[in-house]
Symmetry: C2
C-alpha cells in the first residue's frame, strides 16, 4: 500500500472528524484552544530496541508511545486533548502492522480522550522510530517539578519497580506470564491523580527514568533535599516475591524506569484529602519520606542506615 | 557530557527566556496562544541518509530540519512562533556536534522569529534522527491545498528543480561549487509570500516532494484538474546549463523534491497584485498553467504535446 493510501485508510479515521486536522490531507493542522485554556505540550519518542523490545508487537508499540506521553501530561495535571504522530518504518513492514498499530491508537484515544490532528511518515532502514507530540489543556497553573518545601511529605502512587522487574524477566526470556511484564507493556498514566493534585501537591514528576533519578530531578528543581525510607516504598506482591529470591532486585526497583507512577510532594495538611482520594481512585498513595531543607537525596534502609547513592541519585549496589 | 548537562548547556539557551518552556527542566511546556490567534501545527522528521546525506554537517542538519517545517507553515500562510525538538543521536557523537547544531538552530530562530519550548533526546544506534514540531500563529483562515477553481492560474515561486539537481551533483561526488548544491542545503521557506497569499490565492502547497507530485496533491484536494506547460517552468541559469548537457535533468526538475518553493492557484484578477508583489519580494512568481474543471494533470511540452504522466503525477521518462 502506498503511503498516501495508508494514511487515508489507517490514520485519517483517528482524526475523528476534528475539523482542524483537515483529515490529514494538508500541510499543517489548525488548533483553536478552548477559550481561557492553556495548552500543555509534551513530546517523546519510542524507538524499537530502546523503549520497546526488538520485535515488539504494534499494540505494545502504540500503547507505550501514547502512555509515555500521557504520563508527562499527568505529571503537570493537564487533560489530554490532541496529538501529532511521526512514524518511521522499514519498507518491508506489512500493512497489517499499520492496521494493528492504528487500531490500538484508536482504543487509546477513546480511553484517554484525545484525537490525532497531524503528523508525518517516512520509510527507510530499521529500527521503527516513532514520536508523539501531545497537547493537553489546563485551567490555571500546571503542577511542576519545582515547588517542594522543606517539611512536605513525599508520596508515590501505585507500586514501584514492577515495570523494571518485568523488563528483567523479559530479558531473561522468561516464559512465565507475570503481572510485572504486564506493567512493563501497559503503563497507566495517572491523569486523574495529576489533575486532582494541582490543588493539593507542591511539586510532581512522573517516574519514567527510575524513582531515585526522578525524585532527584524534583528536589533539584525545587532547591531542596529529600529523605526517603526504602522499606516504605510500595511493592506489588510479585515484586516482593522477586525480592525474596534476589536481593539485587532492589536496584531495578529504585533505578529502573517505565513505572509511570507519579512521585509528588504535599504539605502534611493534605494527608486527609490524599488518604480519601486514594480510596476514590482505588490507587495507593504512599508516603515514602519527607522534604528536607538541605540539598541531597538520602535513602534509609530498615535499620535507618543511610544507603550509599551516587551523586546522580543512583544507588551503587 | 551527560544528557542533562548537554540540554542545559546547548539547548536551554534556545528557549530565549520564554517562560512556558520552563527552561527545559519540566515534564512538559506551557503554551498560551496570543488572544484571538489560532495555532497552525506541522511536524517533520529529518533522518540521516534520507533527508540529508550520510555524514551531513550539524549545520546542514539544523537548517534542513528547521526549514522543511517552516515551509509547511509558509504554505498555510502562518507566522512561525514556537517549536519542539526530538533528537536521537548515536552515543559517540562529540559535544562539538551538539554545539554546532544548537548554534545553527539559534541563527535560524533569530532569522525566522521562533523559539524552542520543549523536546526530548535519546541516545542509541545510528542514524541521527530528528523531529521538529513547529507552531505558527494565524489570524483568520489558513491557506489550504483545497480551494482551487477552474479558470484559476497556477503559479510557482522562485525556480524549480535546483535542489534535486544539486542532490544529483552531490550523489555524483561533484567537487564543483554550484548554486544548485547550495539550494539543496539551504532551502528558503517562502513565509512572506505565504502570508500575503492568504488574501489572494485560492490554494497552495509547498514543493517538498516534487512539482508534479505536489501539484497533483493540490488538484486532488480541490477536486479539479490542471494543465501546465513545461517550457514555462522557471529554471535557474545553473539548471538550464545542466539541461543543455543532459535532457534527463527534466526528470529531476519535475519530480525531484526539496525545492520548498510554493505552488499556488489564484484567479486571473490577482495577476496585477502578484506581479507587483513579486517585485516587492524580489522573488519571481511564474504562471505555469491553469486549473481545469476535469480531474487530472496534463503537462505540455514546447510543441503543446501532452507528455505522458503516471496516474500519480510522476513522469516516466
Amino acid at each position: 500500500m502506498r503511503e498516501r493510501e495508508r494514511i487515508a485508510r489507517f490514520f485519517a479515521p483517528l482524526t475523528d472528524g476534528e475539523p482542524g486536522s483537515y483529515h490529514l490531507t494538508d500541510d499543517a493542522a489548525l488548533l483553536e484552544p478552548p477559550a481561557g485554556k492553556k495548552l500543555v505540550i509534551t513530546t517523546d519518542s519510542v524507538i524499537e530496541g530502546i523503549h520497546v523490545l526488538p520485535g515488539a508487537t504494534p499494540e505494545q508499540y502504540a500503547v507505550k508511545l501514547m502512555r509515555r506521553n500521557l504520563s508527562d501530561l499527568a505529571a503537570m495535571g493537564a487533560t489530554p486533548w490532541r496529538y501529532t504522530l511521526n512514524l518511521h518504518t522499514p519498507p518491508n513492514l506489512p500493512d497489517t502492522w499499520f492496521a494493528e498499530f492504528a487500531a490500538t491508537l484508536a482504543e487509546e484515544q477513546q480511553q484517554f480522550g484525545l484525537v490525532l490532528i497531524g503528523g508525518d511518515s517516512t520509510s527507510g532502514p530499521a529500527p521503527i522510530h516513532t514520536t508523539l507530540t501531545c497537547f493537553g489543556v489546563i485551567d490555571g497553573h500546571p503542577l511542576r517539578r519545582r515547588g517542594a518545601h522543606a517539611g512536605d511529605d513525599i508520596y508515590v502512587s501505585g507500586t514501584i519497580g514492577d515495570a523494571a522487574l518485568g523488563l528483567l524477566l523479559l530479558q531473561q526470556k522468561s516464559t512465565a506470564m507475570s503481572p510485572l511484564i504486564e506493567r512493563y507493556h501497559q503503563p497507566q498514566p495517572r491523569l486523574s491523580l495529576g489533575q486532582a493534585l494541582r490543588a493539593h501537591a507542591s511539586a510532581a514528576i512522573d517516574i519514567s527514568d527510575g524513582l531515585l533519578t526522578d525524585l532527584a530531578h524534583l528536589i533539584d528543581a525545587s532547591h531542596v533535599g529529600a529523605a526517603i525510607y526504602r522499606e516504605r516504598i510500595p511493592l506489588s506482591p510479585a515484586a516482593q516475591q522477586m525480592l525474596q529470591h534476589n536481593s539485587t532486585a532492589w536496584d531495578a526497583i529504585l533505578n529502573g524506569g517505565d513505572d509511570y507512577e507519579l512521585c509528588f510532594t504535599a504539605p502534611p495538611t493534605a494527608r486527609t484529602f490524599l488518604h480519601t482520594f486514594a480510596g476514590t481512585l482505588s490507587l495507593p498513595l504512599t508516603r515514602i519520606g519527607s522534604v528536607s531543607p538541605a540539598a541531597g537525596l538520602t535513602l534509609y534502609d530498615h535499620e535507618r542506615t543511610a544507603l550509599p547513592l551516587s551523586p546522580n541519585g543512583w544507588e551503587h549496589s
